[in-house]
Symmetry: C2
Subunit: 202 residues, 2 copies
Amino acid sequence: MAGKVQKKREELRILLINIAEARIIDGGISQIRARDLAKDAGCAVGAIYNVFGDLNELVMAVNGRTFKRLGDHVMGTVKSHPDSTSAETLVIMGHAYLDFASKNAPAWRTLFDLEMSSDHDVPEWYMSEMRALLALIAKPLAEVFPDMEAEDVALMTRGLFSSIHGIVLLGLERRISAVPEDQLKHMISLVLNNLTKSAQKK
Amino acid sequence: MAGKVQKKREELRILLINIAEARIIDGGISQIRARDLAKDAGCAVGAIYNVFGDLNELVMAVNGRTFKRLGDHVMGTVKSHPDSTSAETLVIMGHAYLDFASKNAPAWRTLFDLEMSSDHDVPEWYMSEMRALLALIAKPLAEVFPDMEAEDVALMTRGLFSSIHGIVLLGLERRISAVPEDQLKHMISLVLNNLTKSAQKK
């Protein structure tokens, strides 16, 4: 009997994540309201909180899936350019990030829409997904800068991810004058190419 | 009599901007509620909408002041390092941006919290403030890359502003693992120094 309850709980958990994911893909975090989720899932509002501590926890679960899709998209794009140098790979990754964000704007925005200002709030699995994503960047970066200390490579990896994120974020929101998307691609190339050039010119 | 009405309107406008600015400095855009503003200003809620089309317009006015403070802080910091090279100036600006954002987090966040996804929504004076801020970056950048075409300098100016913004944004929100603020400074130096090095190594 306990096993049956457990199974129903797990089924409801997956069902709620599926429903929340569809809603977030469609319109972002504003589409996540307990009453709507309960209606879509055919359960009571209270049942949601038997499965998730709060709606943040549910959105986190969807973000986990979005991170996975983002990583797959970036790595798929890199694999379709097998003859690239490490410096070119960084640009390809930057463009793939722009492409994913532009085609999945609501879900991508939701990755960064959750309040999590203290370390305490960020679950370990989330940080681990983030580290996996950063490792994709660290590898070609370390190849471009073979003499750079590991600590600086780690810091620069985060710096480059944040840089490209900033370009994509402000670019897609047209915050700093209307830059068309192909110009955003060129902007990413300009920043990254000039950055990696410093290593190649030794 | 019309002049008197006009004067009272203008006084209320300034009073509301002052009140909204204090609230935004204190807690960001969430502190802007018509009822609270009316209470602080000692006016009816409806009177606010006689002066501003909507609350967005009021927040925009505060953002104009914040932009001015940001520009003053960046230029003040640059002026206190008169012997810097153009490449060093870019790093100094990046650090000054981090410093301003960190010390004025709610007001700085509000600069980017307003919904303005289409060109239509952004007033001309706002774009003009943004252009003035970008011009501060374009000057040393053009000096570092004297052979770069003007179009690319313009694009790279936006790219660098967005990059530093991304580093500061994700860094202060601790989105991608806890990076202490002095490491954020080093992250900004690493990205910018490696970028400008490509020009110096010719």
